[in-house]
């Protein structure tokens, strides 16, 4: 449905989006994840033909955003970060305006207005001025204007930002309910949101693609593997960390050891283990038998959050490293 190839947006001083490529299948909900300023909005704006890309191509429903913007615009519903509302208009009048802009008319327009008002639960404010609506209602009116012409693709920029928890849940349910008919891309920096509603995630950081994967895969990864924090201390006030890493690495079931914090006398390691391998006993024995002290051992559950932070952090540390993760990382 959406194909993005080597998409790049450069401004005078910085590169907002740097050679991003991904593909989105029809009917999917895709979470576009990244810290603030990662280039999420810029990418979405390029997909909606608001910004032209500096390099690379993007096609939506088979139409190129640069060559056939009108065809793309007809097939896209877009909710920017702040809903594009005219404060002096009534809700119903606004929907009618947007519907006409998108090419609806007559009975069809009326029917779609009724439909989206009901779907987005804004029927009770149809005769109210948009400027006087609460934040939650505004967001829903914003969503209603995005789906009014029944677009194939829905692009939602932080649809739950600034809402209270109850409204967030309502908005998420609404987005989920729209899934079957539309292909949806939504940007967010809230991870549970992605876990709740998306099937696929695209993680970007500093304009670069960090990972694309299905949410299930990422979750499997976080559930399956156990991650353990271990603090090891040397007896005589000195500790050779490489020696410790080598020793722990020999314990069966350990897949990865990362030095988290290094101090002269003691260091902290994060040990990742295979699924269904209970290595704690062996791990503790290995450390003690080698003549070190085991100061602390606790489980560090890897959440999507952790994966996200890891991925975006490695990005910052080693920007040139190829860090695209695919598959279930087992």
């Amino acid at each position: 449905m959406i194909t993005v190839k080597e998409l790049t947006k450069r401004y005078a001083r910085n590169t907002a989006v740097d050679h991003i490529s991904f593909e989105i299948q029809k009917g999917q909900i895709v979470g576009f994840l990244g810290p603030n300023g990662a280039g999420k909005t810029t990418t979405m704006r390029m997909l909606t033909c608001f910004l032209p890309p500096t390099a690379g191509t993007a096609t939506v429903a088979g139409f190129d955003v640069l060559e056939e913007p009108m065809e793309v615009k007809k097939r896209i519903g877009y909710l920017p970060e702040t809903p594009p509302l005219y404060p002096e208009m009534m809700t119903g009048e606004y929907l009618s305006f947007v519907g006409s802009l998108k090419g609806l008319r007559g009975a069809e327009l009326k029917q779609r207005i009724d439909y989206v008002s009901e779907r987005c639960a804004i029927a009770d404010v149809r005769n109210k001025q948009l400027g006087k609506l609460s934040k939650g209602y505004r967001q829903r009116v914003g969503l209603a204007q995005a789906i009014i012409h029944n677009p194939e693709v829905l692009i939602l920029d932080e649809p739950t930002a600034g809402l209270d928890p109850k409204q967030i849940n309502e908005t998420r349910d609404l987005i989920k309910s729209l899934a079957g008919d539309h292909t949806i891309i939504l940007s967010t920096h809230i991870l549970p949101e992605v876990e709740q509603i998306c099937q696929q995630v695209i993680i970007i950081s500093k304009g670069k693609l960090v990972a694309t994967d299905t949410v299930d895969n990422l979750q499997n990864r976080s559930r399956g593997a156990e991650s353990i924090f271990v603090e090891v201390a040397g007896r005589n006030g000195a500790l050779d960390t490489t020696l410790v890493q080598a020793r722990i690495g020999k314990v069966s079931g350990v897949t990865r050891i990362v030095l988290k914090e290094k101090q002269p006398a003691h260091s902290t390691f994060e040990v990742e283990t295979q699924k269904d391998h209970f290595v704690r006993g062996d791990l503790a024995r290995a450390i003690v038998e080698a003549g070190w002290d085991l100061n602390e051992m606790r489980s560090a559950a890897v959440s999507l959050e952790e994966i996200f932070l890891q991925l975006t952090r490695t990005q910052e540390a080693a920007p040139k490293e190829e860090a695209v993760v695919t598959g279930a990382g087992k």
Partner: protein
Amino acid sequence: MRNVWLIWRKEMRSYFVSPVAYILLLMGALIFGVFFLIPLLGYLQFAVEAQMRGEVFPINMPEEITRRFLGNIPVTELFIIPLVTMRLFAEEKRTGTIELLTTSPIQDGEVILGKWLAATTLYCCLLALSAVNVAFLFVYSHPDWKPMLVNYLGLLLQGAALLAIGTFISTLTKNQIIAGAGTFCACLLLFVCGWVGEFNSDTWARVLAYLSVSTHMESFLKGTLDSKDAIYYLTLILVGLFLTARSMESLRWRS
């Protein structure tokens, strides 16, 4: 065309839902009233004095009053035009609704045309308001209406040209005050740049005099329709709208 109408309707509504249109019309009514009253009272006094001396007043009063009255209206354009155009794009840029327009299947040209036509319509309402004063002359006398029509055509063309310039300036900023001040400045310069022609007659002075909107108004105010001047205003409209289109396109490259 349907989209132009759609944008026009939206703009008209937003003029008339907010107090902007009403305040403009009220101010216009007040100022036009004063502009009309001053020559009227002045000529009345002349006429009465002439009658007391037993002479025949040598001037066609209704036409003279109209000429003076309409000749002053361009001055009011200086503050009316910025007030009408300043919000057209600046407001949409500030609230982010421009994103709705530019991501909808509608051409930039249709948006620009709709907005400019709405501004011109509001300006026409103001001109119509001024015509109420002139209508009184028809109640008490029978002045020739044809030159007046030409006068009004001139005012309409001049207004429409300046509105196009104002529309362009409104695309340059998010801030309505800056858009308004910029438009005021541009209008004022276009009005007065012809003055150099009065002191100087080298090429530059002649070019500046030609560019000035006020020099092209003279023929219209005399009641003669000069195609040269009409073409000047039409060109100015096209230039203004063209610049608006370029600026709207560049919004995408810059933002």
